[in-house]
């Protein structure tokens, strides 16, 4: 076995010539003979008008192929074993999404032009290195509480006083000659301009991921050229990012003006200095995503709430109360809670609830999507809610016209009470915050 348990390796090759561009993930790279064969079988199928899309092996190993614009081939290989993203369909959906994200991320950094018409492979290889940070972030999913890669919804944080922050973001963006601006706290969207929300959800998620990597680099501000995979894949924009406080970043997408210096010196202080206290409050909200005023049912271990219209999500793991109950035998760690939440989301989405796709760029992409949604469409009636009782916890998912809620509760809660807990949680959050 060449892959470690549950690890995922990403292979990127040129579709026509099979030249490997890069491989990411997994500590040990697959031998080239394997990479070549994986590429070869897909290419051979292409000659017979058969598109190989995925493969599954015993124990949940998975290989997913995808060619983008007939020029770049991405292959994700995931080993079998524990700790992966579920098995079978769930994993396939997960890997499909990963490939899509990786491609978008390459476009974001390099632009579609360079990727679609590859003139100089060596140069492309060099250029692609600048995506590695971002791609690694997508692959590793190290940062807890960021589910945007999976949900294609912007991970959000609800501030205690949203109107104040909103006004500042709007004013700052306008002053920077732009219509696209947003504020991130702990890597989650706090507030953004109206135009920003009109970007494709994938773009919002990717821009947030990009800003997380940029702020992780430690610089206080930067000017980064980005292509928007759906909005403007060939024309670059400037992404200006300023660190307001450690953990709080503001950014705007703009044209040639203003310069980074001008914006930093003139605008940032003017708009954000008065709000320092508000920003600190936002920072204290932290991983909970919700203002302290919103009280949750004490039995909720973790939740993920998606607004299907605005394509935003809030999620958190509340493990505080597990310490108060010493009797509860196996206490779930924070990390395991996040993992279970992701798995349950994937499980529900691939089997029962549909995942909105606002933009399916091309025909073949929508065809690819079909491969994972085949089962959902087999239902004659609409699934509304579902639950899963496992040894570690009980999970509950519900879907309304506007929201999707995924919830984990400890096994001690009786099953018939799950529904009440879930609906109550939903109404509590929605009425308190208007999410």
């Amino acid at each position: 076995m060449m892959l470690q348990d549950g690890s995922t390796q990403l292979l990127c090759l040129t579709a026509t010539s099979g030249v490997p561009l890069f491989t990411r993930g997994a500590s040990r790279q697959l031998p080239f003979s394997i990479i070549g064969s994986l590429n070869g079988v897909h290419m051979f199928g292409g000659g017979q008008e058969v598109v190989l899309s995925s493969c599954e092996t015993e124990g949940g190993g998975k290989v997913v192929w995808r060619v983008f614009h007939d020029s770049v081939m991405l292959i994700a290989v995931s080993g079998s074993g524990h700790g992966g993203a579920g098995s079978g369909k769930e994993k396939e959906a997960h890997l499909q999404r990963l490939l899509e994200n990786v491609w978008n991320c390459m476009v974001l950094v390099l632009g579609e032009e360079e990727l679609v018409n590859i003139r100089n492979v060596e140069r492309l290889k060099r250029d692609l290195r600048s995506c590695f940070n971002l791609i690694d972030q997508l692959l590793e999913e190290k940062q807890e509480g960021i589910l945007g890669n999976l949900t294609h919804c912007a991970d959000s944080l609800l501030p205690p006083n949203p109107s104040l922050v909103q006004a500042a973001v709007d004013g700052f963006t306008q002053a920077a000659d732009s219509e696209f601006g947003c504020l991130l706290v702990h890597g989650r969207m706090v507030s953004a301009t109206e135009k920003w929300w009109r970007l494709a959800p994938q773009e919002i998620v990717l821009l947030a991921a990009l800003m997380r990597t940029l702020s992780a680099s430690g610089s206080s501000s930067c000017d980064y050229p980005v292509f928007l995979p759906h909005g403007s894949p060939t024309v670059a924009h400037r992404l200006l990012r300023f660190q307001l406080l450690p953990g709080a970043d503001v950014c705007v997408l703009c044209g040639p003006t203003p310069s980074l210096q001008r914006a930093q010196s003139g605008l940032v202080v003017r708009f954000w200095a008065p709000l320092a206290e508000t920003l600190r409050e936002c920072l204290t909200v932290g991983g909970r995503c919700l203002p302290a005023s919103v009280s949750l049912h004490p039995d909720v271990l973790a939740f993920l709430l998606i607004n299907r219209e605005t394509r935003r999500s809030i999620s958190c793991v509340l493990c505080s109360h597990t310490t108060t109950k010493p009797s509860a035998a196996p206490v779930l760690s924070n990390g395991r809670c996040w993992e279970l939440l992701k798995l349950f989301y994937n499980f529900s989405i691939t089997r029962y609830f549909s995942q909105e796709e606002t933009l399916c760029a091309s025909q073949d992409e929508s065809a690819q999507r079909n491969t994972t949604e085949e089962f959902v469409r087999g239902f004659t009636h609409q699934p509304l809610q579902c639950y899963l009782v496992t040894e570690e916890c009980k999970s509950y998912g519900l879907q309304t016209a506007q929201h999707q809620l995924f919830l984990l509760v400890p096994p001690s809660v009786p099953t018939f009470a799950l529904r009440t807990v879930a609906t109550q949680t939903l109404t509590d959050i929605v009425t308190a915050t208007g999410f």
Binding site: G45, L52, C55, G61, G81, N370, L384, E391, T415
Partner: protein, 960 residues
């Protein structure tokens, strides 16, 4: 000695004498059975004959002893053929003098038919060729007017009508008015043709020597009018592809020796315009509604080409590929050991077999597990390909994704492989022998037809078309559909089976010849109308047998009214027995080594009953040599058993007609009509909806009251018996006892004496004591079945009628609350390998527009739920050794999983109000303790349920 029990009641033994006579007649008459000629050289036999039409089936029931004439069909390697013969039973009861003559005639006819049947396998469009091929023999003169007939075809449409003719009836009804003007055409077929009429009309016809057979009239109640497709004005062109005119029609018809189905070709003048010469054959095909369902024709081996063609646009394939490259082989495509179908459907998938081979070889090293499936896009079609590697060979099955979800592909593939292994021992033995190829073609034709167009197979039959996910789910369960029977019938069925299995009767006993017996009966199971009603086989053997039956659609076949006689004999390789030799576990525990014998499966079906018998040769019986064919003695014994069981048919039918034992509700009742109130949540117990609900539940039960299986079975019997047999009733009483609280709360059904009933129930619960005998496994029966109460058996008939008049009844209700909210359920018992679900009839009774959708949805959801259970389980059964724990399922073991669905009525036109909605749960629960069970239930959302409790309540109905 029929019963090993010491005390046979007087009335019952009288009954037995009747059976005895049947047995001895069957035994000592040295008639050769009709299937004898059809045994293939490897000993296998697949012999299926249909009883006559539905109306004749009623006749059969009326006088079962009276012989019926039937249509014998033989299934051999390449063709099926119809042999007209008389049923054996008739010969038994009243020997017909002219039997040998008949047989000779039949042989002649068979010889005549062979070419035309062969053509059936190779495509129907060559009908003209075949008429030319058919040797006209001496009687069937090939008419020169054929040319003209062809030219007429272009303007006038031809249609084919199948009718069933029975020359026997002619002789019976009157002393042959055959010499009359109508002749056989009128008497046999019921078509009136008046030569003079035509002559008067057209001058051209006068010139012709032999004139066209225009239909001038139809005789009431004749086959011609019954089929409804022969119209006045049509012209009869051919009978079974033999051209007919007024000249030869009498001779042609007189050649029909016995009852048979003939195909009439008629020229109709109605729709002249749409029939060009090119598509004439296809038009003929689609027009004629086949009186024999496609399924039966497929089983006979007819028609595969046409069925295969109709799914030609959907890619599917099965290939057995060799992973070893043999460069010395001169054969083309030598890596393909087997392939089906060889048509457009498989071209693309065959072309990319390199992908399958490469992936299979490579991926195991990469991800650390064998490849199990891959998904391919062929144009618009998404195809899932399943892999099964065995040794150096690889089985690849490609199926369209819209039919088989990826979640369930593994189960489907696993079942096919197991079936093949049961039939052939191993995949290599199945695929690598070239003489197996036609059989495998047939096998996979059935496989694909069932998955891709199940509705087509069932057309022409009475059962409603089943959705593919229903079949997928139910057949994928490692269990057989079980029908709970009233205990007294169950006891009798079991004792009849045990008698047979003890095989100390007649030639089966060793004393008879003083020789070792040929076969040891390992056990048998009995199906009635596709339900398992008795099983004396170990679970794994039962599953093996059932997989075979499912694959050959024998179960649905028997549920229709059409099986005259079914005899199947073949060597099988039961999986448990084949592997038990290698596993030392069983030996270590019990010190017992199962003998290494050969096993044979004998399936005999008579009408609705079907008995599967597993025989062993070579253990304590004499070893089998070469390829033994079916032994008449054994077949006759099974037949006799089935005839004996037919006496119980009324009781079983009654059970089937009984109101559903756990009450079922129809989904449509919960949807308020367009004018009714909007919500049901707040419906009080006095609401019209509820009364309608309970009324409908009562409705069907009022005709046949008191037949609830679960509640009152024990209460009904005499006090005397419940004293003597109280131990055996523990289970039943415990079941009713546990549900008594819900019964009491169920006001619409409670009767004044309900309190008294409850009282009694508690009594019996206390005295009987449920000692958990429900979990005692299927191998050995509980003692009560071995010692049936003779008194009770003797009064069986009486009690059955008593029950009709009984006024008291209770209804078992699975759900809690005042309303019955249960829609559907499936309970699978993993130890016994059986499952219970509402019977087809119960489901059909709850007709409605939403309900069938709900049933479909339920099964589709169950696919997902069961897949979750399976994935989360540490793999035990299949390829257990290599599979790592957990199987990559990150969520941990799943105990329970539920989904809430919402449905709306279709075509909601009212713009002002939103459509009313109804929500319901589909919940699956897996229990590992005390015995592995899986329970799937579908109920209305208004009441919160605890599925474990429901499963507990229901499982008492499963006592074997």
């Amino acid at each position: 000695m029929m019963f090993n029990g010491p005390a046979d009641g007087a009335s019952f033994s009288k009954n037995l004498e009747d059976f005895d006579s049947i047995r001895s007649v069957l035994l000592y008459s040295d008639l050769e059975p009709e299937w004898l000629d059809e045994i293939q050289k490897n000993g296998e036999l697949f012999y299926l004959e249909l009883s006559e039409g539905e109306e004749d089936a009623a006749l059969i029931q009326a006088n079962a002893c009276h012989g019926v004439s039937t249509n014998h069909v033989r299934f051999s390697e390449k063709e099926a053929e119809i042999i007209i013969e008389q049923n054996k039973k008739q010969r038994c009861c009243s020997r017909v003098k002219g039997e040998t003559a008949l047989k000779k005639l039949a042989r002649i006819l068979r010889r005549k038919r062979r070419p035309s049947q062969r053509k059936g396998g190779g495509g129907k469009d060559g009908s003209k060729d075949s008429t030319a091929l058919t040797p006209p023999a001496s009687i069937l003169k090939n008419q020169p007017s054929q040319r003209q007939g062809v030219s007429v075809q272009q303007q006038q449409q031809l249609k084919e009508v199948c009718v069933y003719l029975n020359p026997k009836r002619l002789g019976g009804s009157s002393s042959a008015p055959l010499s009359d003007s109508g002749g056989l055409l009128e008497a046999l077929l019921g078509v009136i043709h008046r030569p003079s009429w035509t002559r008067g009309q057209g001058a051209s016809t006068v010139l012709r020597q032999e004139e066209r057979l225009t239909v001038h009239g139809l005789i009431p109640n004749s086959p011609a009018i019954k089929c409804g497709q022969i119209l006045i004005g049509d012209a009869l062109v051919a009978v079974d592809d033999v051209d007919v005119t007024s000249e030869n029609i009498e001779r042609v018809l007189s050649c029909i020796p016995g009852p048979t189905q003939v195909r009439l070709t008629l020229e109709t003048v109605a729709h002249v315009d749409n029939g060009s010469a090119g598509d004439a054959p296809s038009a003929r095909r689609t027009k004629s509604s086949p009186p024999v369902s496609q399924l039966v024709r497929l089983l006979w081996g007819e028609d595969t080409a046409e069925l295969q063609m109709s799914i030609g646009h959907i890619p599917h394939v099965v290939m057995y590929l060799s992973l070893k490259l043999d460069s010395t082989s001169t054969q083309e495509e030598e890596e393909i050991l087997y392939q089906y179908p060889v048509s457009d459907a498989s071209i693309q998938l065959k072309a990319v077999r390199g992908i399958f081979l490469t992936l299979c070889d490579m991926l195991e090293n990469v991800t650390g597990g064998r490849i199990v499936s891959s998904s391919l896009l062929l144009g618009k079609h998404l195809v899932h390909v399943g892999y099964w590697k065995e040794g150096n060979n690889l089985l690849v099955v490609g199926l369209p994704a819209e039919r088989v979800p990826l979640l369930y592909l593994q189960t489907v593939l696993g079942d096919v492989v197991r079936t093949l292994k049961v039939m052939y021992g191993s995949l290599d033995r199945a695929f690598c022998k070239s003489d197996n190829t036609p059989r495998l073609d047939h096998f996979f034709c059935l496989f694909f037809q069932q998955l891709i167009q199940p509705s087509r197979l069932r057309d022409g039959s009475s059962t409603p078309p089943t959705d593919v996910s229903v079949t997928l789910f139910l057949e994928g369960l490692p269990a057989v559909r079980w029908l709970t029977l009233p205990p007294e019938i169950k006891v009798e069925v079991d004792s009849v089976l045990s008698d047979f299995e003890s095989s100390d009767f007649g030639e089966m006993s060793e004393d008879f010849f003083g020789l070792r017996r040929l076969y040891v009966i390992l056990g048998s199971c009995l199906f009635y109308k596709s339900y398992l009603i008795a099983n004396h086989l170990p679970k794994e053997d039962l599953l093996d047998v059932c997989l075979y039956c499912q694959h050959y659609c024998l179960l649905p076949l028997a549920s229709e009214q059409r099986v005259g006689q079914l005899v199947i004999w073949r060597e099988v390789f039961p999986q448990q027995r084949a592997h038990s030799g290698s596993s030392s576990r069983s030996r270590a525990v019990t010190g017992f080594t199962p003998p290494h014998g050969r096993h044979f499966l004998l399936i005999v079906g008579l009408r609705h009953f079907m008995q599967c018998v597993l025989l062993e040769a070579g253990g304590c019986s004499s070893p089998a040599l070469a390829y033994p064919g079916p032994d008449c003695v054994y077949v006759d014994q099974v037949k006799a058993t089935l005839l004996q069981l037919e006496a119980l048919e009324a009781g079983i039918e009654e059970r089937l007609n009984a109101p559903p034992a756990p009450c079922l509700s129809c989904a449509d009742w919960f949807l308020p009509a367009a004018t009714a109130r909007d919500r049901l949540d707040s419906v009080a117990s006095s609401s019209p909806v509820l009364s309608k609900l309970s009324g409908t539940v009562k409705g069907p039960s009022s005709g046949s009251r008191g037949r609830s299986l679960f509640g009152e079975m024990s209460r009904r019997c005499s006090p005397q018996r419940s004293l003597s047999d109280s131990g055996s009733e523990g289970q039943m009483d415990a079941g009713s006892g546990s549900s008594s609280s819900t019964v009491a709360g169920f006001s619409p059904h409670s009767t004044p004496d309900s309190a008294r009933k409850l009282e009694r129930r508690r009594d019996s619960l206390g005295s009987g004591g449920s000692d958990g005998s429900g979990g005692s496994g299927g191998l050995f029966k509980t003692p009560r079945m071995k010692h049936p109460n003779p008194f009770y058996l003797g009064t069986l008939k009486k009690t059955l009628t008593d029950r009709e008049t009984e006024e008291m009844y209770t209804t078992m209700k699975l759900t809690s609350g005042s309303e019955n909210t249960l829609f559907h359920y499936v309970l699978m018992d993993g130890v016994q390998g059986i499952f219970i679900a509402p019977t087809h009839r119960e489901t059909a009774q709850l007709s409605g527009s939403i309900h069938p959708q709900l049933i479909r949805n339920f099964h589709h959801c169950c696919l997902s739920i069961r897949a979750a259970f399976q994935q989360s389980l540490p793999a035990r059964s299949r390829r257990a050794a290599e599979r790592p724990q957990g199987g990559g399922w990150g969520l941990g073991p799943v105990k329970e999983h539920g989904v809430l669905f919402q449905c709306k009525p279709e075509n909601w036109t009212d713009q002002r109000k939103p459509a009313p909605t109804m929500t319901y749960w589909v919940i699956g629960r897996m229990l590992l303790e005390p015995i592995p069970q899986e329970f799937y239930v579908c109920f209305h959302d208004s009441v919160a349920e605890v599925p474990v409790e429901m499963a507990f309540r229901l499982s008492f109905g499963l006592a074997l």
